[in-house]
């Protein structure tokens, strides 16, 4: 899968969010950099759905939030919807390196418990 094409398909080059994709034996790792405003949230959701649809089952999809410093409710919604879709296809969606600010928003909305968190060495 050519990931640079995938990213370009969903994110404009000048948007506030930069995305990079990596694949290893266990699955795919998506690194986000920037702030997830309303526009990039819906782009992220579309991209995640696209990737989940084309992934084989029993793999994992890790979203690395190390460089994300702002996430509005639409961002949380995008990840939640991706989580549900991934579950249905037997794919594990996991979050890694959640910043305290972003974590507090997840907790405020009461969704932290739904997501599986992994450390970077996994």
């Amino acid at each position: 899968m050519d990931y640079s094409e995938t990213v370009d398909k969903f994110f404009e080059k000048d948007s506030r969010m930069r995305v990079s994709l990596m694949e290893d034996v266990s699955g795919i790792i998506i690194r986000l950099n920037g702030s997830l405003d309303m526009q990039s949230s819906s782009a992220l959701q579309e991209m995640l759905m696209y990737i989940i649809d084309s992934m084989a089952g029993h793999k994992r999809l890790v979203v690395d939030l190390h460089d994300v410093n702002y996430i509005p409710s639409t961002g949380v919604g995008a990840l939640t919807i991706a989580l549900m879709t991934a579950r249905k296809r037997d794919i594990k969606l996991q979050l890694s390196q959640i910043q305290p600010k972003v974590r507090s928003i997840f907790e405020l909305l009461g969704f932290m418990s739904f997501f599986e968190e992994v450390s970077d060495d996994a």
């Binding site: 509005p72 249905k88 909305l109 009461g110």
Partner: protein, 588 residues
């Protein structure tokens, strides 16, 4: 100089002085008073100077209709638009001063025979006309000339005054309009249900409306003015990012921001703001509006949560469904096995009985032969034949003995199979002998076990327990076969050992099944009861055996099942079952 001429000159200069004095007086009046009272005073002054009986001022439009009359009264009188030409019948309207005949001020004054009328000023389509009337006699030419001179003298003053009055009127009007507009805009700002705010370039609040105070739960706007906007955010440091972005772009649309209310609760809001800049680009002010979207967020949150829970429930449902199907399959296999066992029983029965009969006949044959071979002269019989006959009878005994064994084994297997399946007691819990169940299960499983492992039984003295025997047998079979398969691959040195013990512990019966196989790694130890979890190759196991066993022991029998394992040493399964069965059971 002749008297007549001197008189004329004297008269003229007298008249001149009158006019001058009157002019001065009028100027004074107009300078002091801008209201309509001045006009009234002026009219009275003019009337007085000319010894008129009546004096009045009319505003008259281009069609020569009256509009307003101001006379010696305190207040202006509005007339219906009678044409003064018709009323007054002027001889000519083109001269500076017009002489009028018998006329009265419409609606007010009495009829007077002689009137003078002069236009004091014109503004737009309206002109102000002064009328003076005398009770008796005519107005002289001097009077006419004087009035004309007066008009010339006073006209500029009146014009200026008039223009000033209009200016003043416009100014007041504009002020009123501005004030109205200002109030209107202020109301929009104040009464809006969204927060409107302004801050300076250093983020200090310079203006905020009522909604702002309400949204932040502050008692008054004063609590907010002069404070940094970031003070009211849940995370003040967030404001830095906002300011950077708005400085770069000049505006921000629909930015989600979380405030901390006075009472500590947090509110989700949406902010839209823009900067006001100097010509050189420095920011003077930030203006923005904030909308409380807590309700929307709450609804979205509930929706997502519900969806997530539904998705989870669905997945659980699928798992349960699979388990149930597997369970059904096993149950029907059990039924099949019991049916087969039953079918085999019959032919075995008569085969055994035929064999016994045959054995009896052979016994008789042996006896006859023995009698024959001893009663006849031994030399008559072939010693070879005698030997062969003896051999036949000896071998026959062995064959029958083996037959017995064979029959016993088949009967044992068949009855074990029937015991194991226990189809006759499908859904009802009965009194069950666990030790007997273990025995029959081992017979059924023997094929799997015999090449890889020994079995050591230590079955204690336990009472019968209330249970579903068929299901418990399934559980034991599952665990024992797992153990045997584990010991098979990879192959090991020496034979394996499976140890099964039962003993009574208070009101529970404890069953342990130990094998000295490779053990279970700690990493997966807590997963082995998960549905679909298996370490076998695809096709070699569904991963449902232990989860069904778990379900049978824990949910159906109110028992417990757990495992201890040491990689390299072995694995032990512990099953504890209440003697009196599960709580909500109906005993037969």
């Amino acid at each position: 100089m002749p008297d007549a001429i001197q008189n004329t000159i004297q008269l003229q200069s007298d008249a001149h002085i009158v006019i001058l004095t009157l002019t001065v007086e009028l100027c004074k009046i107009f300078a002091q008073d801008e209201s309509e009272k001045a006009i009234i005073a002026a009219i009275n002054a003019i009337g007085h100077a000319f010894h008129a009986t009546e004096a009045a001022l009319f505003y008259i439009n281009s069609e020569k209709s009256y509009r307003v009359c101001i006379s010696g009264t305190e207040y202006p009188i509005t007339l219906s638009e009678k044409r003064w030409i018709e009323c007054a019948r002027p001889k000519s309207t083109e001269t500076l001063v017009t002489k009028l005949g018998s006329w009265s001020i419409p609606g007010i004054g009495k009829k007077l025979p002689a009137w003078l009328c002069v236009c004091l000023y014109t503004s737009g389509s309206e002109s102000g006309y002064v009328f003076i009337g005398r009770e008796a006699g005519e107005w002289s030419d001097n009077d006419v000339a004087s009035l004309a001179s007066l008009k010339m003298a006073i006209e500029p003053v009146v014009k200026i005054r008039h223009e000033r009055a209009i200016e003043e009127w416009n100014r007041k009007n504009t002020e009123k309009l501005l004030a109205k507009n200002e109030t209107r805009l202020r109301n929009i700002f104040e009464d809006s249900r969204d927060m409107f705010y302004s801050t300076n370039a250093s983020d200090i609040i310079t203006g905020i409306n009522l909604a702002g105070a309400t949204i932040l739960g502050c008692p008054s706007k004063q609590d907010l003015l002069g404070k940094p906007f970031s003070t009211f955010l849940l995370n003040p440091a967030d404001r830095v990012q906002f300011l950077e972005r708005i400085a770069a772009d000049g505006y921000i649309d629909d930015y989600e921001v979380i405030f901390k209310k006075h009472d500590g609760l947090s509110i989700f809001c949406l902010e839209t703001a823009h900067t006001v800049k100097e010509s050189d680009g420095t920011i003077i002010e930030i203006q923005g509006s904030v909308k409380d979207i807590s309700n929307r967020i709450e609804n979205e949150r509930k929706l997502w949560k519900m969806n997530l829970e539904i998705a989870e429930a669905n997945i659980n449902l699928q798992k349960t469904h699979s388990i149930m199907i597997q369970h059904e399959k096993l149950a029907s296999i059990g039924q099949l096995a019991a049916g087969i066992a039953h079918e085999i029983n019959n032919p075995i029965g008569f085969l055994k009985s035929n064999s016994q009969t045959l054995e009896k006949y052979f016994g008789k044959l042996e006896k006859y032969w023995s009698e024959c071979s001893t009663s006849r002269a031994s030399s008559d019989l072939d010693s070879d034949m005698i030997q062969r006959m003896e051999k036949i009878f000896i071998e026959a005994k062995i064959i029958f003995a083996e037959g017995h064994d064979g029959f016993e084994r088949i009967i044992n297997i068949v009855s074990s199979l029937k015991n194991f399946s226990r189809v006759d007691s499908q859904d009802i819990m009965n009194s069950f002998d666990l030790n007997a169940g273990i025995e029959s299960t081992l017979v059924v499983a023997w094929n799997e076990i015999k090449y890889v492992s020994e079995v050591r039984k230590n079955l204690g003295d336990i009472p019968p327990i209330v249970a579903h025997g068929g299901e418990l047998n399934q559980v034991i079979l599952n665990i024992v076969v797992n153990a045997a398969q584990a010991m098979e691959n990879p192959p090991r040195e020496g034979t394996g050992l499976i140890e099964i013990t039962t003993r009574l512990e208070g009101d529970h019966v404890l069953l342990t099944i130990h094998d000295n196989g490779p053990g279970i790694p700690k990493k997966i130890l807590n997963k082995i009861f998960d549905p679909f979890f298996t370490t076998k190759e695809p096709g070699k196991g569904t991963g449902l055996g232990l989860s069904i066993s778990y379900d049978i022991i824990v949910n159906k029998h109110d028992g417990s099942i757990w495992v201890e394992s040491e990689p390299g040493t072995g694995t032990t399964f512990f099953i504890s079952l209440p003697v009196s069965g599960p709580h909500k059971v109906e005993k037969t």
